[in-house]
Amino acid sequence: MDFATLIEILGSTVRLSTPLLLACLAGLYSEKSGVFDIGLEGKMLMAAMVSGAVAFVTGSVWLGLLAGIAGSMALAALHGLASITFRGNQLISGVAINFLAAGLTVLVAEDLFGQGGRTPPVSFGAGRFAPIILPFADQIRPVPVIGPIYADLLSGHSILVYVAFAAVPATSWLLFRTRFGLRLRGVGENPAAVDTAGISVVRLRYTAVAITGLLCGLAGAYMAIGLSAGFGRDMTAGRGYIALAALIFAKWRPWYCMWACLLFGGLEAIANRYQNIDIGAFTVPVQLTANLPYILTIIILAGFVGRAIPPRAGGEPYVKER
């Protein structure tokens, strides 16, 4: 493999990691606050459809993005209603949201555009995020090694890619260096203690679920009007679950989330580029590469390579003592 190919695969890794990273951080906020969320997939899908549709109709990426976020946050609100207000089973609520999105997106897109559940293609400048060329990219490109890395790997992605990677330090700071973050982690570990301190558990959890909705919205919008040129039926294709896997793989830590998503995005990039990889003695089938995120997560979950311990109050509705 030559250097140019490597840069190409790494560039593709960065783009494919972006929706995973946004969804993974989304899940991080929710789960840190004690609300399990296996509905990341559904929220992404909803955001992808809504943003694709609105971006096509209005021709504006920003309106598309906002609408996508709104669609995702509506489902997040439903999850909050079920799991926080009505103290329902958070896992079942997540499953329901995934199906709701899978069904509604096709119904609505088919009704609006009649193209078999797709939204019509959008182009750069009219509903799709254009790549951002960093300054002096063309001048630096001839420089060996550093040139291609700067011009072809770091430069040339859409704004949401940079937002996603900037969200990592931001999340790390918010969760571990602010009062809000301390409280958020508190409700995920011991909600009664936070409640005793006079802070509303319900409000904190709703805030966390709303942030989850926002980030899933970004992830879905990036799928539909950044990475691709329009929404397609079931276009998230399990990425919400891979993000969930990455979250566990990263043991609920922001920086590790980024590395896990880069790893899983990289596997996807490799699986896209090479079908079966021949490594001398035997061939690695593409199905193995594509499923490696799940297999690695199982190994991590099994605790053979360091144990993944979720927030202690995760999945349990909080009932205030009377």
């Binding site: 609520s93 329901a96 096709v106 799940y294 199982i298």
Partner: protein, 370 residues
């Protein structure tokens, strides 16, 4: 204190949830510019209106019976098995291996062997997440989700690289032999006269009914069933009573996986008569809705499975007759899961208040209610 009479808890709550789910689906249909009443009429006609319709409705219902029972058994042990999809996929693999490579003389022997294959492979696929939950504390929901994807990848690999006939482009196995063809309803004595030849409902339906009865027997009439339910109600109390959590989690999940795997008898052996890539088609997930709707009771699961069989078949007819994609069924399914599962308290609370008020007003000395 019993807040509601048992009949209200068993029938009224799911019924109200179902009505809400249908009302919202009606609004969705109205919102996309179609007539909900007409849509309902077409669905009922397409799902129940003819011998042909019943032949498909009961075929789908058979799938959902197995996956619904699978989810129920695990639920009783407080394990949420989302892995029915993967376990049924593996069950299909078991069926195909048994039927493809051994020349069976008659379908009856083949059926027994294929059932063992399906159940064993399904149980195996549930065993790993179960072991991880019981021994390592890995959350079963997450592991079963992952195992669904891994099962899909594994089957894809096996079909493309090993099991499809040479020269075929289609990722599926060769057809099973004519000798192992399961009799459809049309072939059966007594019931045959009511069904047409072209529908896939087959003898597996009766096996599913038997499974229903056996699950009831297991859960409410055996020692193991008692232990499973006790463990599901309170893990601490169960441990105090000397029940081993490891044993219960493993057994409940093995039974659950075996039931999900048996779905392949209906689909792969009875319906498609060869192993195809996406044979399960979401039936594993519909099992969650069926179990919730049926209140985890085999009889409730039976009713809910027929309801979803009807929705599935009616929805398919609907997409042909009107401009409504069959994803409408996915929406109804989602709403049923939402209202019977996650928003259960929302439906239940006003009912409980109503019954409490009725009791205070109607019955003498505050007594009453069965």
């Amino acid at each position: 204190m019993q807040r509601m009479p048992a009949w209200a808890d068993a029938f009224l709550v799911p019924l109200i949830s179902l009505v809400i789910a249908f009302l919202i689906s009606g609004i969705v249909v109205r919102a996309i510019g179609q007539d909900p009443v007409e849509a309902m009429r077409i669905m009922v006609q397409g799902g129940f209106g003819s011998a042909y319709a019943w032949g498909y409705t009961l075929y789908y219902a058979t799938n959902f019976l197995f996956t619904g029972l699978a989810v129920s058994v695990a639920f009783h042990a407080s394990q949420f098995n989302i892995g029915g999809e993967g376990q049924a996929t593996l069950g299909g693999l078991g069926v195909a291996l048994v039927l493809l490579y051994i020349p069976w003389p008659h379908w009856t022997i083949a059926l027994v062997a294929a059932m063992i294959g399906a159940a064993a492979f399904g149980a195996f696929w549930a065993a790993i997440p179960a072991w991880l939950q019981a021994r390592r504390g890995s959350h079963i929901v997450i592991t079963t989700i992952m195992f669904n994807f891994i099962a899909g990848g594994l089957l894809n690999y096996l079909l493309v690289n090993w099991m499809k006939p040479a020269g075929s482009m289609d990722p599926s196995t060769a057809r099973f032999g004519e000798a192992v063809r399961l009799p459809t309803f049309y072939d059966l004595p007594l019931v045959g006269q009511y069904f047409t030849k072209s529908t896939p409902a087959n003898i597996t339906f009766f096996i599913a009914l038997l499974a229903c009865f056996l699950v009831w027997l297991l859960l409410w009439r055996t020692r193991l069933g008692y232990e499973i339910r006790a463990f599901g109600k309170s893990e601490k109390a169960a441990i105090y009573a000397g029940i081993s959590p490891f044993r219960i989690i493993m057994l409940a999940m093995l039974i659950s996986g075996a039931l999900a795997g048996l779905m392949a008898i209906n689909g792969t052996m009875g319906g498609q008569k060869r192993l195809i890539l996406n044979a399960v088609e979401g039936a594993g997930f519909i099992g969650i809705a069926v179990a919730l709707m049926g209140r985890n009771h085999p009889f409730g699961v039976l009713l809910a499975a027929i309801l979803f069989g009807f929705l599935y078949q009616g929805g398919a007819e609907l997409s042909l007759a009107m401009n409504i994609p069959s994803q409408l069924v996915t929406v109804i399914q989602a709403l049923v899961i939402l209202f019977t599962g996650a928003l259960d308290n929302m439906v239940r609370a006003p009912l409980e208040r109503a019954f409490a008020a009725g009791r205070r007003g109607g019955a003498p000395q505050g007594q009453g209610g069965p």
